[in-house]
Symmetry: C2
Subunit: 380 residues, 2 copies
């Protein structure tokens, strides 16, 4: 849908379109029309429809429709399927998946949850947007092919920007304000082995950090990981924190997206919905590689192991292995000679392997493994 | 290395370079110089060095060097690491890996075998070329990026062709004639779940088919698969068969290239070397998903299940699952709506799941699963 009307005054527009409200953020005029469930941006005499929702999130019960992301010079309107289940008072949860196009676990698990939620949810509100970035998803690429942007670096987005920024803007303006808690479903992608996990970065506010770790542990996945690294601008979690939200980043494994793994992730989601009080039932610990265990670990920038040269990385351990100082983590084979030219990559200290790269070609100084230790931070 | 000499007669060349032999295949003159362990192609007065080996495969014991693939207009000389172990009389085996650049299992397992072979091999000859296609490997792509060619569709290659064809030509001329048996190490790549397997296509000659299946089963991997599909020109196996070789195509699983899986593949290789008589020892059945079982299955074109629409494929079963008629194999979710618009993909008959696609976006009519049944062909 494309509608532009040149050279009309706000007064004329208001009378013509029965517009009841006009706000003025910055230099632009945003016109809100309840009749059309939409906002229009009035710039230089041209009225452009902004991104909008095709459903009313306040309507009781289940609703299905679309988050309609406004067109731009790089592509037309995008219709992102959205599902809402409003059972009145209670927790308000937003579930998003598919921020990165090569992480399919989230979009699939979000759809599974949407299929049984109408029978299970007893109170509160849940909004599900399974695919944040359908363009990257179709290309099986982390970033959006057309503008090359990583969606998790552009929040809160920009209504006038390229398509990745427009999607982030629509989510930030139309969905995030409707929730108190966000579950953003990621995975480690096809190049890594990683256990089903919830990760969080350290949060300055101790109360918020404690609530986040408690919520993360409620998934009962094999690993909860506190990942200390430098702030990266534009992440969804940073923006959500700034808006006072509880933000949970699921990292649903890596490698093949298979049936057994999806069941583990779905179990984690049900456990979390039970913990939030949205769903009744008893939490279950999923079985991962013949074990039913959960542990909370922490990792820092110095726990990243990198390739000592370019070549073929061969993994020699598996995720959640306990390793001692000097144990072999992997081997880096020179591509130029055989059988000489290999370098061993060993554990610098006793630790737990929390991620290991799939065997493959790597450049010099590329990450090949991530180690961790038991979580010792005070979470209040 | 680049050496071109214009406008000289064969007589002049022979006297200058001590060339002892000249053959004339077709319209070109190929000049063989034992002194330089190489051949030179004489075309229109220009002498170009052809691909050659930096080592003498007839030399007893272990040798390491390169298969040097001649330069062309698209890239310079390529040096492919090669390892040779000559213990005199006995079976002559060529092991190749990395035909497709996103199948890293072969290159890693071939290097593992090269590391222990000097202590284990008691007779015969083994030549190992871990990476047939280093350009595709570096790009983590199935085909060669520069010419877009699938190396397993260009055999026996072409000395004057693009780089993929030149590599195939070098292998066909310099390595294949030195072997009676070929193990070509593939995998199903990152988009599929597949058990560690040996596959073969039906071979018209019953004796050759029986020998191939016996050799395949000697790996003792979880699955030996006879895969009936239409002939595809330019495959390495077809060319090797035409040259009277026993050809084994390993398909070492799919998805993440992990430590435990690599150990399974290496065990299979050791079993096969024992069966060939190159190595002493007792074969062991590797453990795959808590089972130590091997089965020989067959699959046909009609056993391929395809997506009924474009959308997100969700796998609902795992490899080697027994399924009954009507059992759910996967779900195809429409990307356009939620939660409606899903299609179930069900087993048309009782069968065994031998491959299932990783969850992800698929087009209409794309393969999502491969079913199989117990092998019943007579193999004499």
């Amino acid at each position: 849908m494309r509608w532009q009307r040149p050279k009309e005054s706000i007064g004329e527009l208001k009378s013509r379109w029965r517009i009841f409200e006009a706000t003025k953020p910055g230099a632009e005029t945003v016109v809100t029309s309840p009749r059309f469930n939409s906002q229009w941006r009035h710039t230089n005499g041209t009225l452009n429809r902004m991104s909008y929702l095709s459903i009313d999130l306040d309507k009781p019960g289940a609703s299905s429709g679309h988050l309609i992301v406004r067109e731009g010079s790089d592509c037309g309107e995008l219709l992102l399927p959205v599902f809402s289940l409003n059972r009145g008072e209670g927790p308000r949860l937003l579930i998003t998946g598919g921020c990165h196009g090569n992480e399919l676990e989230g979009p699939i698990v979000a759809r599974r949850v949407a299929s049984w939620l109408p029978e299970a949810q007893t109170c509160g509100r849940v909004i599900i947007l399974p695919e944040l970035n359908p363009l990257a998803l179709q290309a099986w690429s982390r970033n959006t092919p057309s503008d090359g942007l990583n969606m998790n670096r552009v929040f809160p987005g920009c209504a006038e920007g390229s398509v990745t920024e427009r999607i982030a803007d629509a989510v930030s303006r139309l969905l995030l304000p409707m929730a108190d808690t966000v579950f953003d479903l990621h995975s480690f992608g096809p190049m890594w082995d990683f256990p089903p996990s919830i990760i969080t970065h350290p949060i300055a506010d101790a109360g918020s950090m404690a609530r986040t770790v408690r919520m993360a542990e409620a998934f009962k996945l094999p690993m909860t990981l506190v990942w200390e690294h430098q702030d990266t601008p534009g992440m969804f979690d940073t923006w959500a924190h700034s808006q006072g939200k509880l933000f949970i980043c699921a990292e649903f494994g890596g490698g093949t997206v298979g049936s057994e793994a999806l069941t583990i992730y779905e179990t984690g989601m049900r456990n979390a919905l039970i913990a939030l009080g949205l769903v009744e039932g008893t939490a279950e610990s999923p079985t991962f590689r013949q074990k039913k265990s959960s542990q909370t670990l922490e990792t820092r920038a110095c726990d990243e192991l990198k390739s000592p040269q370019r070549g073929i990385f061969e993994p020699r351990c598996s995720v959640l292995d306990d390793v001692q100082q000097g144990d072999l983590i992997g081997v880096l084979h020179s591509r130029d000679s055989l059988p000489d030219g290999s370098s061993d990559i060993r554990a610098p200290i006793a630790s737990i392997v929390c991620a290991i790269r799939s065997g493959g070609y790597v450049d010099f100084n590329e990450e090949v493994a991530l180690l961790a230790r038991q979580h010792t931070l005070s979470v209040g």
